[in-house]
């Protein structure tokens, strides 16, 4: 089983050296990537020199703060890693090398993690299937004919296939939790402001957060502790204490109140997904949790609100890709305006253009009040829904997705159907609350099913503790068809 603790154990008891582990990880990635297309770039030299550096710094022996020393990790391509490309899955940033590290990258480096490469994603994180990458779709390790989810599909597939124990993704509206559910792993979207966004290429700035993929709740806890916390470079990062999440993960969950928005278990929800999540709810009951019905009266507007606000912000955030300073510039243009037009026309894919146009429209004079302002008002109502719900419960429980992983090309011609796959996840981004998806079973087609826990602001510990308790009684042991155990190579 490829997770931080087994790798830590193997390193600490000398069954594998850090450079050997890095080497094996890169080799596995290279071997599996032709099937998965999960990695856009692998950095053998960089990984090996980081691995050597951790060896020089000596071995750690179970020191909680050194848990990451030598652990391989993959990073989504919209997060800056100095020396590696950051294409964001877009043609317009082909060949673009950022001159600085994102804050999360810096913190992982300082913790001794070994960054092995950059993972594929939907272009500028816009998508729910990873089919919007300019570098080809990522495949789901459980079924290569199916999508891994998106937009952080490459990171999800890399963890699910056992290549790395942990990968970073990013979320604007479910882009970590949804692929985690599709790929049978755990995925956390932390509280807005929990993790610095400095160096995360912006999509919807008021919604974006770096997210974490791992095979279990404890590994997420370890990773979150390393990368969370106030960053002077991000004015929206919060000065809230970062607890030792892993240390708080044990213990019984007696009396925890789990809120279930019954209305969200109705129309549009796949029967098998419903059955498995209901069963998971019973597991929580058996563990001593109290299940209460709650109402989220405005939940039905979440997707509409999300697509107005996210696209509005995106239309502005993506204005900088104009061919002037970096990335690709159209060579055929004769005038400035022509250069802008052609560069952006040639550089962006269809979904990105669609969203830029949507966002430009909702911010336009004469439409701002009807769309952007109205959406902000509904966003406030959603926050109030959640505040009220959290008076009755500690976490809100739903499926992560309405269905299991769909087939490649199944929804590419129907953007609305695609957007609805974020129906359970997008609200947490709008409200800013943390959300965690963990696997809770398999469908009859042998595809993973995920359940989601959403908590109060800054309550990641609560989510991780509940998930951990569940994992102890219902460990998810299904291996995808494309899988490699690094330690057995």
């Amino acid at each position: 089983m490829n997770n931080i603790e087994t790798l830590r154990q193997a390193i600490d008891d000398n069954s594998i050296t850090v450079p050997k582990l890095a080497e094996a990880t890169i080799n596995h990635a290279k071997k599996l990537n032709p099937q998965l297309n999960a990695f856009l770039q692998l950095d053998r030299d960089g990984a090996l020199s980081q691995a050597e550096a951790t060896t020089l710094n000596g071995r750690s022996n179970g020191d909680a703060d050194k848990v990451f020393r030598g652990i391989p990790i993959a990073i989504k391509d919209n997060i800056c890693v100095r020396g590696l490309q950051a294409t964001c899955g877009s043609h317009i940033l082909r060949g673009y090398h950022p001159q600085y590290d994102a804050t999360v990258t810096t913190r992982l480096r300082e913790a001794g993690a070994v960054i092995i490469g950059k993972t594929n994603c939907d272009e500028f994180a816009m998508g729910s299937s990873n089919e919007n990458s300019a570098y080809g779709a990522v495949r789901n390790p459980f079924d290569l004919e199916r999508v891994p989810g998106g937009s952080s599909g490459g990171s999800a597939a890399a963890v699910a296939a056992g290549i790395v124990p942990v990968a970073l993704g990013s979320e604007t509206g479910g882009s970590v939790r949804q692929p985690a559910a599709f790929c049978g792993i755990a995925g956390l979207k932390p509280t807005y402001g929990r993790i610095s966004r400095y160096g995360l290429v912006a999509f919807g700035s008021s919604l974006d957060q770096v997210g974490i993929f791992a095979t279990n709740a404890r590994d997420i806890a370890h990773t979150l502790r390393v990368i969370a916390g106030r960053d002077a470079r991000d004015a929206t990062s919060a000065d809230v204490e970062v607890p030792d999440y892993a240390a708080q993960i044990e213990g019984d969950i007696q009396g925890a109140r789990i809120g279930v928005p019954r209305l969200l278990f109705g129309e549009g929800l796949d029967a098998e997904v419903r059955a498995k999540t209901e069963a998971a709810l019973n597991v929580f009951r058996d563990l001593g949790a109290e299940v209460v019905d709650i109402e989220l009266p405005h939940a039905k507007y979440a997707i509409a609100v999300y697509y107005i606000l996210a696209t509005a912000e995106a239309s502005s955030n993506l204005a900088r890709y104009d061919g002037v300073r970096y990335g690709v510039r159209s060579e055929s243009a004769m005038t400035l305006k022509d250069m802008y037009r052609r560069t952006r026309d040639e550089g962006f894919g269809a979904e990105v253009k669609r969203r830029i146009m949507l966002g430009t429209y909702v911010l336009s004079s004469g439409y701002y009040d009807a769309y952007y302002r109205k959406a902000q008002q509904v966003r406030a109502l959603l926050r109030r829904d959640y505040e009220r719900a959290f008076e009755q419960c500690d976490v809100i429980f739903t499926p992560t997705t309405p269905s299991t992983a769909f087939r490649l090309n199944e929804k590419t011609d129907d953007p609305l159907a695609m957007y609805l796959s974020d129906i359970y996840t997008a609200t947490a981004n709008l409200v800013g609350t943390p959300g965690l998806s963990i696997p809770c079973g398999m469908s009859s087609e042998n595809l993973p099913i995920g359940m989601q826990l959403v908590g109060r602001h800054w309550s990641e510990s609560v989510l991780l503790k509940l998930a951990h308790a569940y994992e102890q009684v219902q460990p998810f042991t299904h291996r995808p068809s494309v899988y490699a155990d690094v330690l057995k190579s």
């Binding site: 919209n78 997060i79 800056c80 950051a86 964001c88 940033l93 673009y96 950022p98 001159q99 600085y100 994102a102 966004r197 400095y198 160096g199 995360l200 290429v201 912006a202 919807g204 700035s205 008021s206 002077a232 470079r233 991000d234 004015a235 929206t236 509005a312 912000e313 239309s315 502005s316 993506l318 204005a319 900088r320 104009d322 002037v324 300073r325 970096y326 400035l336 802008y340 430009t360 911010l363 336009s364 004079s365 701002y368 952007y372």
Partner: protein
């Protein structure tokens, strides 16, 4: 001057962009120093690199608060940064971070002193006038585009390249927008000077139009007197001094009136002032009607300015210019003109006040500072802060006159000697033997000698030709080699001649 055309009313509104005097940019730690290599002062934030985020420089907020308080504007406890979206190569993010519907300060008002000008351009009849301030907000500056002139391509091919220098991108600006409250170019002129002085006074901005750290745009229109609707306005740019602005406005007003009277129509457009030809011309790149799609900047929290912060800022500021002018008029019995001139800048007001207090003769101090000292500084190309003669030394010179050690005429000769610096009044008086003779015995001796030497004139004076008194005064002073105290000479001579 066309503004006297009585059938027409001129309507002017002004937008000032003042660069705040921070050491670093508004959203990153890059230097605001000018004159560096292109793009030397840049980083991921001000280059607009993917993933970089703005962080507000609190010094810029302090200086904006100083600026607002110096202009007598109230500061909103909460203001919100907003993105102004448009494409231009000197705008690296594709949007400018500014403030929109919740600015730093709004709905303000300030009182300026303004005067009409006579044919020679001299101010006449200063009057207070209230100007509505629509808003004062914080924003970042853009960079600069540079274009190779046709046929000068440095690259050796036939193309002409354009270059972008982002050193200026992210420089903090305070934008100050007025209501259309000005009714003449001179009101606008007096307003800009008022704002410049206020910003310089509190160190919020260097506010130097020639250096471009204060930029001004004027919206100008005319309407027939009595009309309630505004006429079509034009926007004037490239106003590189207050004087150019004033001329450009007059030029446009005249053009509007002539055009309308001839049956033409004003086109709403942006015009550039050409200071060589003294005319305006339309901006070459004709601007389209922009929809800037403003929305709240999600990367920055709303700016909360506490009442304590405002109080602390106010407390740290010097007494403001208008208050000081009024106090000078009250405490030192100065005229409005004198007090205004002496509060034209903080260093001058400080200098004057030290000289006035130290000499205990505010009237004389005002005359010296505005007169001889100002001339001496001007010929040496120095400002008041660089004066080699300190306020205390100038006060010593005034005291030397007041105590009759030297006379006023001598003092005028002493000041240039002091301008070399490091020499006190005392030293000059002693080394040049200028000490005034106030010894009555000595003066009496000279008077007796002088009368004896001029018996004819003495006879005539005695016979009633009193006009000769002046002749004797002059002769006595001359005999004393100019050192005799003229006041004593007068008194004693009159007594002697009357004997």
């Amino acid at each position: 001057m066309v503004t006297s055309n009585s059938a027409w009313e001129t309507i002017i509104g002004l937008e000032i962009h003042a660069q705040l005097s921070t050491d670093t940019k508004i959203f990153c730690a890059c230097s605001t120093q000018t004159g560096c290599e292109p793009n030397a002062n840049t980083c991921p934030v001000c280059l607009g690199l993917p993933g970089a985020l703005p962080v507000l420089n609190t010094r810029a907020v302090e200086l904006a608060a100083r600026a607002a308080l110096a202009l007598g504007l109230k500061i909103n406890e909460r203001s919100v940064f907003a993105r102004k979206n448009y494409f231009y190569p000197d705008l690296p993010k594709g949007y400018q971070i500014s403030q929109y519907d919740e600015p730093f300060s709004e709905h303000g008002e300030l009182t300026i002193m303004t005067a009409t000008r006579d044919e020679a351009g001299h101010a006449r009849d200063w009057q207070p006038k209230r100007i509505g301030i629509t808003r004062l907000h914080l924003e970042e500056d853009a960079g600069k585009n540079m274009h190779e002139p046709q046929g000068s391509a440095a690259t050796g091919d036939d193309n002409n390249y354009s270059y972008v220098d982002l050193n200026r991108a992210g420089t903090p600006l305070a934008e100050i927008v007025t209501e259309p409250d000005f009714r003449s170019s001179w009101e606008a002129y007096d307003y800009v000077n008022h704002v410049r002085r206020a910003l310089q006074w509190v160190d919020a901005s260097d506010a130097d139009m020639e250096k471009g750290n204060l930029r001004c745009e004027a919206n100008v229109s005319v309407r027939r007197k009595g009309a309630t609707e505004f006429g079509t306005k034009v926007e004037l740019k490239n106003l590189n001094s207050v004087r150019f602005m004033q001329r450009a406005i007059d030029y446009e007003v005249e053009r509007h009136i002539k055009l309308i009277e001839a049956g033409g129509r004003i086109v709403q457009q942006t015009l550039l002032w050409d200071e060589r030809t003294n005319t305006t011309r339309p901006m070459r790149s004709k601007e389209e009607a922009h929809d800037y799609r403003y929305f709240p900047e999600p990367d920055l929290q709303p700016l909360i300015v506490s009442p304590e912060f405002i109080e602390a800022t106010r407390h740290a500021m010097p007494e403001l210019p208008d208050a000081r002018r009024d106090r000078f008029m009250r405490d030192y019995e100065l005229s409005f003109n004198d007090a205004s001139q002496l509060t034209a800048e903080l260093a001058l007001a400080d200098y004057y006040e030290r000289a006035a207090r130290s000499s205990n003769n505010p009237r004389a101090a005002a005359n010296w500072v505005r007169g001889d000292l100002a001339r001496e500084l001007e010929t040496r190309n120095l400002n008041i802060a660089q004066s080699p003669v300190s306020a205390e030394h100038l006060a010593a010179l005034i005291t030397a006159i007041d105590t009759n050690r030297i006379n006023g005429k001598q003092a005028k000769d002493v000041l240039p000697l002091m301008m070399t610096g490091g020499v006190t009044v005392d030293e000059i008086i002693k080394s040049r033997g200028l000490e005034q003779v106030s010894d009555t015995g000595e003066i009496e001796r000279i008077i007796i000698e002088t009368i004896a030497a001029n018996p004819k004139q003495f006879e005539q004076y005695k016979a009633g030709k009193e006009a000769l008194f002046g002749f004797f005064v002059g002769a006595v002073i001359k005999q004393s080699q100019g050192k005799a105290n003229p006041k004593l000479v007068n008194e004693m001579l009159r007594a002697k001649l009357a004997e």
